[in-house]
Amino acid sequence: MHRAVLFALALLGLAAQPVFAADSVNPQADFKAFRDYFTKRFPKVPLNDFVNGPYSMNADLRKQWVEIDAFPPYQFALDKGREMFETPFKNGKTYADCFPNKGIGIRQNYPYFDTKSGEVITLDVALNECRQTNGEAPYDYTKDDMAALTAYMAFTSRGKLFDIKIPDDPRALAAYRKGEEYFYTRRGQLNFSCASCHVQSAGNHIRTEVLAPALGLVAALPIYRSEWGGMGTTSRRFITCNSQVRAVPLQAEDEFYRDVEYYLSYMSNGLPISGPGARP
């Protein structure tokens, strides 16, 4: 009898598992919970300062950053990006012809869900589409040329607030959901998810580094990393994260990577673009 009661209780316990999560997708509720989590956990950090990642978490790092930023290490990339952006393609057209507002001050609207293709389009993908449409070869999503171009476009958007939209389209919700799933799924031999570092351990040290909070994480991209000795695109950041937990990375701009950028950018809605950033 006693066993039967225990068994019944165990079944009830199983039934009480969080079925809520799989049942519905509610980006607005997720956004509120996400924002509340970080602002309550770090009550002294001004909301807009979350985009500065580890510098919002650690006063010593912040001092170093302020000094470093007097001669920003991404300046070369910025100058190169501007030149690339303004140089016409062989057909005479430029990047400005491919984007709203001639490509200036638009970073905060990317990624967006394209209802025609049914996919998430990041700024990097849009840039390569622009190149290909104009008869140019696409750039490698992880290399310096793409980093320089996106650095310039981010720079022209500094201070503009993330404004990511999820259209009333089940495919857009599915992409958002896939991004959320990727963010919280543990992977690699070290059994880490993106959230293991940037939610549960945000602000903590991992070796000598201070882990940035997920809130505002994508606002500083692309970034110059001292560890890399150069610039890194969003793809490079995701690929490196995967490798560090001993997971085989996906292809740059894989659908999952684009979806997780979509999810994280939506979570950062209302926060200012701060890219290009510089990180240790």
Partner: protein
């Protein structure tokens, strides 16, 4: 007594030699172990959840086999299979478990 000891020693040496000969891996042993590891890694690939360590062990197994060290090659292939199986288990568990980590 001394004769018995010598006989005993000889027996131990013989058995030891036979045992060593029996467990030395062959090219076929490697092929079988590698095929199992590869099949497991294929499943992990389908789940988009390969581990870099599995890939490294598969390469190490191939390299050992190429150099004729089949004991090492089998050992590495078996390790790769174990890692691949662990990554499969992780992917299957995380297929639903991730929701429990979501900020609510």
């Amino acid at each position: 007594m001394f004769r018995h000891s010598l006989l005993g020693l000889a027996l131990v040496i013989c058995i030891g030699g036979l045992t060593t000969a029996a467990v030395a891996a062959s090219a076929d042993d490697f092929k079988a172990a590698y095929a199992k590891a590869e099949a497991a890694e294929k499943q992990a690939t389908a789940l988009k959840n390969q581990w870099t360590t599995t890939e490294a062990e598969l390469k190490a197994a191939q390299a050992a086999a190429k150099s004729g060290n089949y004991d090492e090659a089998v050992k590495r292939a078996q390790h790769a299979e174990a890692l691949a199986n662990a990554s499969i288990a992780q992917a299957k568990e995380q297929a639903t478990a991730w929701t429990q980590a979501v900020i609510r």
